[in-house]
């Protein structure tokens, strides 16, 4: 194997692929990054049996071949190379990387032991890359992070015609994001449970091109797989990941709640205030919000230790309400809103609060993203 390639193209593709390599590989070869030459370029692959990442990039290939080398090391090297073209040569069990006068000789891993990457399923449709990335970031805001409950670490994607709905919940809050896409078939109908962490990273990493194609394999039981593909530079980027299995909670129906008190606040002002006040809140202790005419008073901390309070201007329609929230959960929701004003709807201090963004105070909320947050019951 021998090729010459642009330094930035290589570094970008290697970094993109190495991102998904396991930190503690179950078998040593999985720490490797597979380099394969094609007629007009290379493909770089990483795999951990759950998630695969593959980048293609154009290169001048002098000699065909394939080699497996330590992905982390290669990524570190590529990031630090000078801005000159890079020449990579395989010689027996060594791979040599030469860039300017810098020269690295790397040991190879046994390429014949490397598992076969799953095939990319056929494309189901495509979505605008920027919007997809934004939507995913919002949807994963309520996803669980507790590996003891793997089902809740997923985002449920529901495809109905030209709409994709994404929802997540960790039992304490829930998110629902809807976005339009261009399906291959107008009567498309499918659902999948995608690991939230992989989905978030993938969507963020595919914003170089304008579109992302989404490919969902057999949605029934068994080895479900979802693939995402986008373009970057002179090549493509694709990721596949295994779907999670299980009956996801019915998140959508949770959002049907009615409301008694409706509040509009300036999103940024509330975020800043919650951050400040919750400095004195110990882990898992709530920030308390008291909504009255024209304002909300935020409080955190206990009498024995530190206490903090702050008031923020608000438009409050309906009866006064006092309610407590886990401050991190509240911040997760507020930070995901992405609009100047936040619209909050309450029924009671033991019932969930519904958050949505609005363009300005008093305006109807934009319901493409909604966040439902269960309060903390305050004692005493």
């Amino acid at each position: 194997m021998k090729f010459r390639i642009d330094r930035d193209e290589l570094a970008d593709a290697v970094a993109w692929t190495a991102r998904s390599l396991p930190n503690r590989p179950s078998v040593p070869v999985l720490a490797g990054l597979l380099i394969e030459t094609a007629a007009d370029g290379l493909s770089l692959s990483g795999f951990d049996y759950e998630t695969s990442a593959q980048a293609t990039v154009s290169a001048e290939v002098a000699d065909e071949g394939r080699a497996l080398i330590s992905g982390r090391l290669l990524a570190d090297i590529c990031r630090s190379l000078p801005h000159k073209s890079v020449e990579v040569t395989q010689d027996g069990t060594k791979v040599t990387v030469v860039c300017g006068t810098a020269r690295f000789s790397l040991a190879t891993l046994p390429v014949e032991d490397y598992p076969t990457l799953p095939d990319m399923p056929t494309a189901s449709g495509s979505v605008r890359a920027e919007e997809f990335s934004r939507a995913v970031a919002q949807a994963v805001s309520a996803a669980g992070r507790d590996d003891m409950l793997p089902l809740l670490t997923g985002v449920r994607m529901e495809i109905e015609g030209s709409t994709i709905s994404m929802m997540a919940t960790d039992r304490f809050r829930a998110s629902l994001r809807e976005l339009s896409w261009v399906p291959e078939r107008s009567d498309a109908s499918a659902h999948a449970l995608v690991p939230a962490r992989v989905l978030a990273e993938t969507a963020k990493a595919l914003t170089a091109g304008s579109e992302v194609s989404v490919a969902l394999s057999s949605t029934g039981s068994g080895d479900g797989l979802i693939g995402f593909e986008g373009v970057a530079g002179t090549g493509s980027r694709r990721t596949t990941t295994r779907l999670l299995e299980g009956e996801f909670p019915r998140v959508r129906q949770l959002f049907q709640a009615e409301s008694q008190t409706i509040v509009w606040l300036e999103t940024e002002a509330l975020v800043e205030s919650v951050k400040r006040v919750s400095l004195v809140a110990e882990r898992n202790t709530p920030v308390r919000l008291r909504f009255t005419e024209g304002q909300v008073v935020l409080e955190a901390g206990s009498g024995d230790e530190a206490q903090a309070s702050e008031s923020v201007e608000a438009r409050v329609d309906g009866p006064d309400i006092s309610i407590g929230f886990n401050h991190q959960y509240l911040l997760d929701g507020l930070s995901a809103i992405g609009l100047p004003s936040v619209h909050m709807a309450f029924t009671a201090h033991t019932r969930p609060a519904a958050l949505a963004g609005a363009p300005e105070t008093g305006a109807d909320p934009e319901l493409d993203f909604r966040y439902l947050l269960m309060p903390v019951r305050l004692q005493g």
Binding site: T169, R171, F172, R173, A174, P249, L254, N284, T285, P286, S302, G324, N326, T350, P352, L372, M374, P375, V376, R377, L378, Q379, G380
Partner: protein, 398 residues
């Protein structure tokens, strides 16, 4: 006021000598000077043994059958906990007459900080002797006292002082006192830790002290390694936390049960865990505390004992949650027909219920197990302890 070189050694560790056995002998003078073992029936363990019985190798926590074999002529007496409790309470009151800063560790031991009593009652040694004389006089039992600047050294000193003695370890003699001792004496060194330290050729506390912390941390983990090194140089807690009993908040509430016959039936074990969890949860609610860490203890037929714990997201006093966690911990052991002698459930990290908030769950009912179990408490108070209980505990097993 005298302030000698030992002016900072003001922590007393007072430990009753063979407490249960001493109390029993006190009430039955004919047993004075004979081998006495206090413990449960023939499946129980030795709770306490008189020094005459200890000469034959009997020690507490030993299975009763073994103790009887070692010392067949000993008088075995079933424990009377109400009697022990009464004596203990009286002893602790005596302590509190000397200083309010009393940290009760169990029925028969406590830490006292006598720094504030110096002017009134004299030096710590004087106080220790007064204390011992009063307890011998009022309760008819003896105790031993260790005096040092830290709780850890004081405890080791009282052990050395046994029986019926006092040992003072002034700050400048801490290392010469500690270093020759076997490392097993250190707090936090159990059989496993001792074995791994022995593999490094370490035998005494001095050996630990002169081993670089980095090596200890590598061998034992960062927390334990650093803590042992600190203790080996006389470190550790130098304050006494006022506490009226071993189960006051910040400690734990738990309950154990030895099966009448060893069992390998997971259903039986889970049912027992439910019974223990119900009991523990009731005690938590009665004490108005909640805890976040659930600890499962399992002792096998061969007496090896393991504990597994899980820290919950929110503190709890709900039997269903405690049992759920304990049962999960039990399931995670993956036991294959292992014969089990005893199981225990314990809740740790306790704090007052008023200070605990509860994150509500989406889709959950407004009234849940917490309300249901509190309603059961009310019913039990009115109609007796067997009025309401989980259906799976209705089986006539005891």
């Amino acid at each position: 006021m005298s302030a000698g070189p030992m002016s900072t050694a003001t922590i007393l560790h007072v430990d009753m000598d063979a407490f249960y056995a001493s109390v029993v002998v006190r009430d039955r003078p004919e047993l004075q000077g004979t081998a006495v073992i206090v413990g449960g029936g023939h499946r129980g363990v030795v709770l306490s043994a008189s020094y005459q019985a200890r000469k034959f190798g009997v020690h507490s926590a030993m299975p009763m059958m073994r103790a009887r074999r070692l010392c067949p002529h000993a008088t075995v007496i079933a424990p009377d906990f109400s009697q022990f409790g009464a004596v203990s309470a009286a002893v602790m009151e005596t302590f509190r007459g000397i200083t309010p800063r009393v940290e009760v560790m169990s029925l028969d031991e406590a830490f006292l900080d006598v720094a504030g009593a110096w002017r009134r009652l004299g030096s710590p040694v004087t106080i220790a002797e007064q204390l011992r004389a009063r307890i011998a006089d009022e309760q008819g039992i003896t105790c031993s006292v260790g005096i040092a600047a830290t709780t850890h050294v004081a405890k080791l000193a009282s052990r050395r002082a046994k029986p019926d003695g006092v040992i003072v370890v002034p700050p400048d003699q801490v290392t010469s006192f500690l270093h020759p001792l076997d490392l097993e004496e250190l707090w936090g060194v159990g059989d496993k830790t001792a074995a791994s330290l022995h593999r490094f050729g370490l035998r005494t506390i001095g050996d630990i002290a002169h081993t670089p912390t980095t090596i200890l941390c590598r061998a034992l983990g960062a927390a334990l390694g650093a803590s042992l090194h600190d203790l080996a140089w006389g470190g550790g807690r130098a304050t006494v936390v006022t506490r009226r009993g071993p189960e006051e908040p910040d400690r734990s509430i738990g309950s154990d049960e030895t099966f009448s016959r060893d069992t390998d039936d997971p259903t039986v074990v889970r049912r027992e865990l439910l019974r223990l969890s119900t009991k523990v949860a009731g005690r938590l609610r009665a004490a108005r505390v909640v805890g976040r860490t659930v600890v499962l203890k399992v002792r096998f037929a061969d007496f090896t004992t393991i504990t597994r714990s899980r820290t919950l997201r929110d503190p709890t006093d709900i039997a269903v949650e405690i049992h759920g966690t304990a049962a999960e911990l039990f399931g995670a052991l993956g036991l294959q027909r292992a014969r089990i002698r005893l199981v225990g459930v314990r809740v740790e990290g306790l704090r007052p219920t008023e200070s605990a908030h509860r994150q509500l769950m989406l889709g959950a009912r407004a009234c849940g197990w917490s309300e249901a179990e509190r309603a059961v408490d009310v019913a039990l108070r009115r109609f007796g302890t067997t009025a309401v209980r989980p259906a799976s505990l209705l089986a006539p097993e005891r």
